[in-house]
């Protein structure tokens, strides 16, 4: 055990190992990233505590699968660097270890494990987010979980998402993105958290070009999905449909900013990080990379809220990604109209944007209704409302469509501005475990809330609840409009469930 003052020089020394010297550490993107993240503009670390001979489960598995069979003598133990925002000495730490409730522990920021391998030595890392502890923040880190960290007999808890660098042998970027995602998803007992070598083995038996699986050179989207499926989750895949106009290559399309924002907003409450396959500027060309999205930041109120379309998701201005080539919670602001400003963009001399080529949304298998199915229904309802009120709304009508657990929704209902009877009817009713909730606003006022079964088949009538925040006059007008025009409007909803959706609205108004 050692206690050091935090500074970039000490950080680079402690990140180095027998196979990677300090100068090499300083050339790594990770070093630059951590220097900023832990520096005065970031977590403002003051002290580092060094724990030698640390046994990292993740590295031990990889060691047993590969490194133990190398002729070179690789050590199986790691070094763990702990960071604190308070300045203290070894003597202070000793007192805190044997004492109780020492305030030094409240300043814990997390740790980085240094694996004893060449170059790619950033191992299991758990660091606090920027907004930890702040009451009001526009940042939403929805892909986090609690980690219990055992240090010198103390148990410290941090809300974060684990990160590590690919080692280019047992794991490529996609493997580490899946590994980070599983760290969160495995909080649910049906999902298995695996180490990187197991994830790569789950993806396939050979590489796409017929080469042996290890050393691994990368995964395709189908292999990513296979690995996700083998961990107990269901992958929902989307590919790009918008053509890349600059630096166009045959067959290259990207996912639009608007669509990506909607998906992130839709799945945030379930909290499983989303895997993005992105095209990033690299050495004068473009390369393919995988990252895990674990949060986003929304723009200040009023910032182009209604201008871009009828969805709350439009307010998302940047995403936070675990990029194994840089670090955890890397900012990626949206470049309008399309593209992302990733760390790769910032490192590129021409500052070329990054594009999302494919995305994989891992969900629990019982969630069978996708976002698009619900948005199609909402488009119908949105247009009916606009038409019924002859476009006379004072403020624009806009929607927030989210997947959520029904028990969370019921807990929220108790705080809604509803009559006691309405609340009791909703919370005492039976609902599936997962529901889609579409909330309609007129300006900033909540106008209506609809819930849909997320576990059914898409051809069925999915509607479960209609909660109205408007008075009897508005309600009876809307109801009579729907009844009068039921015959003409039923075709607005897809397939044969159209009439049922209108009945669902009429009966619940």
């Amino acid at each position: 055990m050692d206690v050091l003052k935090y500074n970039p020089s000490n950080l680079s020394k402690e990140l180095s190992n027998k196979h990677t010297d300090v100068e090499m550490v300083k050339t790594k993107n990770h070093f630059s990233y951590f220097k900023n993240y832990l520096g005065v503009d970031g977590l403002n670390a003051k002290t580092m505590v060094i724990e030698e001979e640390y046994v990292s489960k993740d590295f031990l598995h990889d060691y047993a699968s590969y490194y133990a069979f190398c002729f070179t003598h690789y050590h199986k133990f790691c070094r763990r660097i702990h960071f604190f925002s308070r300045a203290f000495t070894l003597e202070d730490l000793n007192k805190a270890i044997v004492g109780e409730n020492h305030r030094l522990w409240n300043s814990y920021l997390g740790f980085i494990v240094v694996n004893p391998i060449p170059i790619t030595m950033i191992g299991y890392t758990v660091l606090k987010t920027y907004s930890a502890g702040k009451k009001k923040d526009l940042r939403k880190y929805w892909g986090l979980r609690d980690y219990k960290i055992h240090l010198f007999g103390k148990v410290l808890t941090i809300n974060s998402l684990a990160f590590q660098e690919q080692d280019n042998v047992l794991a490529a970027c996609a493997t580490t993105a899946i590994w980070s995602m599983l760290n969160k998803a495995s909080v649910d007992l049906h999902t298995t958290l695996k180490v990187p070598s197991e994830i790569t083995k789950d993806a396939d038996r050979l590489q796409n070009d017929g080469n042996r699986l290890f050393p691994n050179k990368g995964l395709g989207t189908l292999q990513i999905c296979q690995a996700i499926n083998n961990s107990g989750l269901a992958p929902e895949v989307r590919t790009g449909v918008v053509e890349v106009d600059k630096h166009k290559e045959e067959g290259d399309y990207f996912i639009s900013n608007t669509y990506l924002k909607k998906i992130i907003n839709a799945y945030e409450l379930i909290g499983i990080p989303i895997i993005l396959a992105i095209k990033v500027p690299y050495k004068g060309a473009y390369g393919y990379h995988a990252v895990a999205v674990c949060g986003h930041k929304i723009a200040d109120k009023g910032h182009a809220l209604y201008d871009i379309g009828p969805y709350v998701a439009n307010r998302i201005e940047k995403i936070y990604i675990h990029d194994d080539q840089f670090g955890p919670f890397a900012r990626a602001p949206f470049i309008e109209p399309n593209g992302l400003e990733t760390q790769w963009t910032l490192n590129d001399k021409d500052k070329l944007p990054s594009y999302v080529m494919n995305m994989v949304v891992p969900v629990y298998p019982k969630i069978r209704i996708s976002y698009e199915d619900v948005e199609a229904i909402i488009i119908g309802l949105h247009r009916i409302l606009i038409r019924a009120f002859k476009e006379e709304f004072k403020d624009p009508l806009f929607w927030d469509i989210k997947l959520n657990y029904s028990h969370c929704f019921k807990a929220q209902v108790l705080g809604f501005a509803l009559e006691e009877k309405e609340k009791l009817d909703i919370v005492s009713g039976s609902l599936p475990k997962y529901i889609w909730i579409a909330t309609c606003y007129v300006g900033e006022d909540k106008f209506m809330e609809l819930t849909f079964d997320a576990t059914d088949v898409s051809n069925a009538m999915l509607g479960k609840n209609v909660i109205c925040y408007f008075d009897t006059d508005v309600k009876s007008y809307l109801k009579s409009y729907l009844i009068d025009n039921k015959l003409g409007l039923r075709k607005i909803f897809k397939d044969r469930s159209g009439e049922n959706y209108l009945d669902f609205m009429i009966n619940n108004l």
Binding site: C173, G251, E419, C468
Partner: protein
């Protein structure tokens, strides 16, 4: 001088559904519609031709959204290796 206090009082206790979530005042026509607009619950059947046109444009918008689920096979072949 009293205006800010009156406005805060209005926001907290009168304006429905915004700051005071426990208020059960519901939105009426005057809250949601442009000034002097109101609607009555009387027979209001739209012409079939108008509605059909409306449905065609809505269905197109819905299909555009549902088409996002169609996958591009070429994109799936890309190996992600950086």
């Amino acid at each position: 001088m009293l205006f800010p206090y009156i406005y805060i009082w209005y926001l907290l206790y009168l304006r429905p559904n915004k700051f005071n979530m426990n208020s059960i005042n519901k939105l009426g026509f005057t809250d949601i519609l442009k000034a002097n607009t109101t609607f009555k619950s009387e027979k209001n059947i739209e012409s079939k031709k108008e509605l059909d046109r409306f449905i065609v444009s809505t269905r197109k918008e819905q299909e555009d959204v549902l088409r996002l689920k169609h996958l591009n096979d070429n994109q799936l072949k890309v190996i992600i290796k950086l």
